[in-house]
Symmetry: C4
């Protein structure tokens, strides 16, 4: 006796109770519309991840600020000990002495050590020796962060900003296209397209995995138009633009690939909402032959022309 | 003629002769209750692993101690050579000279090199040149360790501290829930739950792989309640709380995921003993919609309410 | 009702409209004959990838040039501030002062800091402190690049420069051979050979996956002759050298392996055009037994001898 | 019509023509008995791999030697320029000057820069500035090597030095055991055992994949006895010790695992020749329960006792 029946739905891991109209589960840039509350500081903290993910401008500002602050602190320590215990401090006012101590600190933490200023007594020597060790460790950390930032796996796949419904063989197809603008080769590229539709009678959502013309390619040197043929088995068969709007349709795209440069698996995500779909349009073919091989105009990835749909 | 029959048990790799009551194969934090004896120092040693796995406090203490000790050693060497072979040593007592040599060593090993003290004769020069090379190598090592510590793959999955037996459709289910409190996205999350039960007539244990409602999700942005439906095929079908206690039940959880930040596979393990299961309780639904999307109260992961079980 | 039929072609991801004669989709070195236009500077940019992929000579030139340029800039800054605000500048002409400032800059950015020249006023101190921080960060970056260059996964598989059509059992076979000249062990080596043939009546190309005698080996310590048996099921069955030329045949080879040294998956690609195939030749067997085991003469990978083909 | 028949042999990638008696394809430590000749220096070279794989003693010697040599070269350069263009050189003989230049070079390349010696003219400044840049780059390289050495994936699995033929259920079994002496957890451990037997009538070898009692475990915290049941389907069924010797039997073991510490797949290989198999012996059970869990005496991995075999 079987007491329960295993449900047949796609295990995307998104909440089926997600509320209806205007809700976007997955943002265009691949992030999720989910916020986690009451995560304790310690649990949620991932300094490395933050420092590696922030923009270069932010990163450099953080570094500069840290450098400035640490030197302020050590300059204060040297002043506390007394600048008479440092050689080569000639400032007579507290401010002048502080500034000289500040730059002595900078020369110490970077292990520059010009030597025109140097520690004389025990306390100053202890602080300077500690500071240079701290400097080396902080710099070790910066080195790790630099490497982490550069070698961070990113599938920088560029998506057409809109999807189209275009004629495909005797029927029609849902299509969008992608290209890898970087020089790194992506291999074994796999694409999955899932569709989220709101039920008309409740707030619940159904998820469908869409069958694709091709879902995997070995190489990815050119532009790739991904096609979901709207056959009679498709969940959007018989639906028009208005219907997709009402059902708050969201096409969720996940691309997995192997990045040859870093020998790493990379993931890319994006989504198309109903209002980002052009009906009766087809993507322009962009590959041209020149003397050295094929050439592709990546800048025209969104180029479409109008076309009559099959009935 | 088949001379033996392949046994049907789950190849967890845990000892089936593990003794009975109160034995926990897998600790809450995912470590194993196994101790290896007579591992030769060289074989068992994994300095990198130890230095990368210890807490930050321990790590910094180790570094500070190493710095201090190495400087002690080199200061002794400079004293042995004679501080008259260093410029700028003004101490008259042995102690003062030792302190000055100590800080000269610190300035040398960090490649700070103020220069107010400098080596004069061949021996002092050889020691100083060796020390600065050693300093660079130790620092290279520290850089590697820093990077290793930060980029260490950790599936920091948070488990509900208890599991529950709650109604599930027409039957009941064994349930616990998990969440990823960090900002790194985990993808392709796979969960396996195994059950270890002591036989009533011997010290041997049987291992069962439990069937799950869902065992894999593509995304993991929200909280996930993992459900083992207690159907008639379940090894705990018909058992009550008392029975599980007697059989010294241990639910062993293994979660495998792909961490997008580091492009690495990560594993997380935990276990629930019979006394960590609440009967007739259900987890509170925690997802709420706000203006920017879903919001989940991670702090209430253990929230349950009482409920009658299905018979 | 099935409205469309899934096409049976190999999803290599290469353009089926690639034009006819003389076109090579995949170069000998595994790169693609595809050029992407109108990639915005920001999108296409991948500095890390470029710096890690360029030759060592180019890399060292880039570093030397960067070092020189940055020192020029900082020397100009010190001159702007006035060299009277640096100790130890004795030059009387602008040029002499510039040269002294240039080397002071070099001593600062490398954190060498001899100290015979040192900053005196606030402006000079600010520039020097900034320069030493910049130096540390640039060096952190160089460290990451060095590591990236060395640990870059490369399947340095050496291919025989030609392929042959040789007798194979009762029929003939398309054969080429590969060897791993490096000391790193490659494991779980998988090979795929695809054939691209131009249609005689159009510019379209068909792609075929070729069946191989062996497509995967666990170890790869010796030379491996990869054989496609030209059975009646082969797309080149019944074709002669002239036919392959006319059909502009291209045999596209993809080898995937696990590099034990770096614990990474690596890919290697190459291709054979019709004019790189020798008909009626067989590779010389190169393995010899000596006292310590097998020995293979890698330098003779292209050695063949003439042989009559099976009819 | 099928013109050829695909052979059914195990694709280990080892040479089937490997000569007969006394030949060992795979050494105990997992290396192959294959030597590659005429690999051009450039092709075979893998400096990173060599420097990362050599012993620590060798590595430190290489570093020390490089440091010494580079300083010799730069000392010669400074002497060539003339030590009168360096401040603080007081040596009057060529040798004294060379020694002082040597240590100045050491202070420059490590970016120590005490400053008691400093460059004065253009040539000396150029050499010193170049040397400090070189120093930074070499050190960047050393940092990468240090990290590479530490994070190198090694499956340090310890094998019993002998295998046994012991009773297994109603039949007998070929058994050996393995343990992970390190603290890193190995997960998803997969073992493959292949057997190489020389044909009695020729120099050719046949390879067989052996069926195992268990070929994969999820966890690997304890010792694992790997069992090949010698059923009537086994290639060694009915053979005795003498037969295995004559057939020059070699049991080739490959273990694949996931190392949790480094999030990497690791491989371990070993082999057992006919003379490393004890007939009629069984491994002693070593797991003991203590207060904190199981305890295993790794030092007794080779412990066996005599036992009668099943007929």
């Amino acid at each position: 006796m079987k007491l329960y029946k295993k449900e047949k739905y796609n295990d995307l891991g998104l909440d089926t109770k997600a509320p209806s109209s205007g809700y976007r589960a997955l943002n265009k840039d691949g992030s999720f519309n989910v916020h986690k509350e009451n995560v304790s500081f310690f649990e949620g903290m991932n300094i490395f991840h933050s420092l590696v993910s922030m923009s270069w401008l932010q990163f450099l500002l953080v570094l500069a600020l840290a450098y400035f602050t640490i030197n302020l602190i050590f300059a204060s320590l040297y002043l506390l000990i007394g600048t008479e215990h440092l050689t080569g401090i000639y400032g007579t006012t507290k401010l002048d002495q502080f500034i000289e101590a500040f730059f002595f600190s900078a020369q110490t933490i970077t292990t520059l050590g010009y030597g025109q200023i140097a520690p004389l007594n025990l306390a100053a020597n202890i602080v300077a020796a500690s500071e240079s060790l701290l400097g080396l460790l902080l710099f070790a950390l910066a080195t790790g962060l630099m490497y982490g930032r550069f070698s961070k796996p990113v599938a920088s796949i560029k998506y057409s900003s809109i999807a189209v419904i275009a004629p495909y063989k005797a029927i029609n197809g849902f299509m969008f296209r992608v290209v890898n603008p970087k020089k790194n080769q992506l291999l074994e590229v796999e694409v999955n397209v899932n569709l989220s539709l709101k039920r008309s009678d409740s707030d619940l959502r159904d998820f469908y995995s869409l069958e694709l013309e091709r879902s995997k390619v070995v190489f990815f040197p050119t532009m790739w138009t991904i096609v979901h043929p709207v056959s009679s088995e498709s969940p959007i068969y018989g639906l028009n633009q208005q219907n997709l709007m009402e059902k708050d349709a969201e096409f969720i795209v996940v691309i997995k690939a192997f990045d040859e440069s870093f020998s790493q698996s990379v993931y890319s995500r994006s989504s198309y909402k109903a209002n980002e779909i052009k009906w009766g349009a087809k993507f322009t073919y962009l590959a041209k032959r020149d003397d050295t091989g094929l050439s592709i105009d990546v800048g025209r990835i969104d180029d479409t022309f109008e076309i009559d749909l099959n009935q």
